[in-house]
């Protein structure tokens, strides 16, 4: 009986195997997360329910035709001017009930940010790219107003407030911050209606 010790397994190729796996995971890794514009679709409406009557002056009409042309309140407009036009409309404060608005108080434009509605209509031939650009500008208009309001009220922009709320390490009072965020959202509610 020859007494043999079990031969030691050669671990020299371990590194090679590990490298192989490493390279595989390196190649398949996608670390970035997706981002985009969040929207909420309206639920299917009842046929019988009468839509509420809204004054014409409280509606900001945005039309996009099949040739990607933009018609805002019956006037042709470039996409780059849309943001400012939307801000002026939302911030108008026509009936004086809005204490925090800096608009022109034009009686022919919106009464109150709470009542102001942006109506977006597009055609089937409109390209997605243009549609997203318009959506982006309209969301930007709301964000500009909310940022401005948050800055004057709480000393930081709305975006910063939301970032702080999501930040686990933020030292401040979160319930109070949440209330403030809700308050700003109430003051400039996003009322963006899409014609289906």
């Amino acid at each position: 009986m020859a007494k043999r010790a079990a031969p030691e397994v050669n671990a020299g190729s371990m590194a090679d195997i590990a490298f192989l796996l490493l390279i595989f995971f390196l190649v398949t890794t996608t670390i970035e997360t997706d981002a985009g514009i969040n929207r909420k679709l309206p639920p299917m409406e009842d046929e019988n329910v009468q839509p509420p009557t809204i004054k014409k002056k409280n509606i900001f009409e945005v039309l996009l035709n099949g040739k990607d042309q933009l018609l805002v309140e019956d006037e042709l407009m470039e996409i780059k001017d849309l943001r400012q036009a939307a801000i002026e409309f939302l911030d108008n404060g026509g009936d004086g009930s809005c204490k925090y608005c800096n608009g022109k108080k034009d009686p022919d434009s919106s009464d109150n940010p709470d009542k102001a509605i942006i109506s977006l209509k597009n055609e089937r031939e409109t390209t997605y790219k243009t549609y997203i650009a318009v959506q982006n500008e309209l969301v930007a208009a709301y964000n500009v107003l909310r940022d401005r309001r948050a800055k004057s009220q709480y000393g930081m922009t709305f975006a910063e407030m939301e970032a702080n709320y999501d930040d686990v390490n933020w030292p401040g009072n979160k319930t109070k911050l949440k209330e403030q965020i809700e308050q700003i959202k109430l003051e400039y509610p996003q009322k963006l209606s899409e014609v289906q």
Partner: protein, 158 residues
């Protein structure tokens, strides 16, 4: 003297590579944890539009993806060049969206279903007709939270 000579005679000792596997394994584990495998092979062109007012789409397990766009080169012979919808790994018709949403909902835990959202990954050259159809289907099945997935950048593109 012999004692001292011995010390000088040796060359630089070879660096031990015994810990190399450990280092590599460490890297390996990092990438294994950080990896998100692509669930779907894309069969459509997916050149997303640009936007800058974007919000991050976290909680990946609570997102349903709907792709749309022109069929990519390998498929144009078979499917033509009109924009199509892709669900999971195959082309689908607008009417199949309802079934797709139902299947996705069934695969998630019940208490998570209300938090599901739908990410629309649509090629920037697609036209709105297709998207209006998708949105109508989503409204029918009450999947109202949507996200137009975009790339970060100025709206004009470049």
């Amino acid at each position: 003297m012999a004692k001292f000579n011995k010390k000088k005679s040796g060359d630089m000792p070879a660096i031990s590579t015994a810990s190399l596997p450990d280092i590599v394994f460490m890297l390996l584990f990092f990438f294994m944890v950080a990896t998100v495998m692509r669930q779907n092979t894309l069969m459509v062109e997916n050149n997303l539009p640009f936007a800058d007012q974007i919000e991050k789409l976290d909680k990946k397990d609570l997102v349903m993806y709907i792709y749309a766009g022109k069929p990519s080169e390998n498929y144009t012979k078979q499917f033509g060049t009109a924009a199509k919808i892709q669900l999971n790994d195959k082309f689908a018709d607008v009417s199949e969206i309802a079934a797709f949403i139902a299947a996705e909902r069934a695969s998630k835990r019940e208490e998570l279903v209300p938090f599901l959202s739908t990410a629309l990954k649509v090629d920037q050259d697609a036209n709105m007709g297709l998207i209006m159809d998708i949105k109508k289907e989503l409204r029918k099945v009450n999947a109202l939270k949507i996200n137009y997935t975009t790339k970060k950048g100025s709206v004009t593109g470049e």
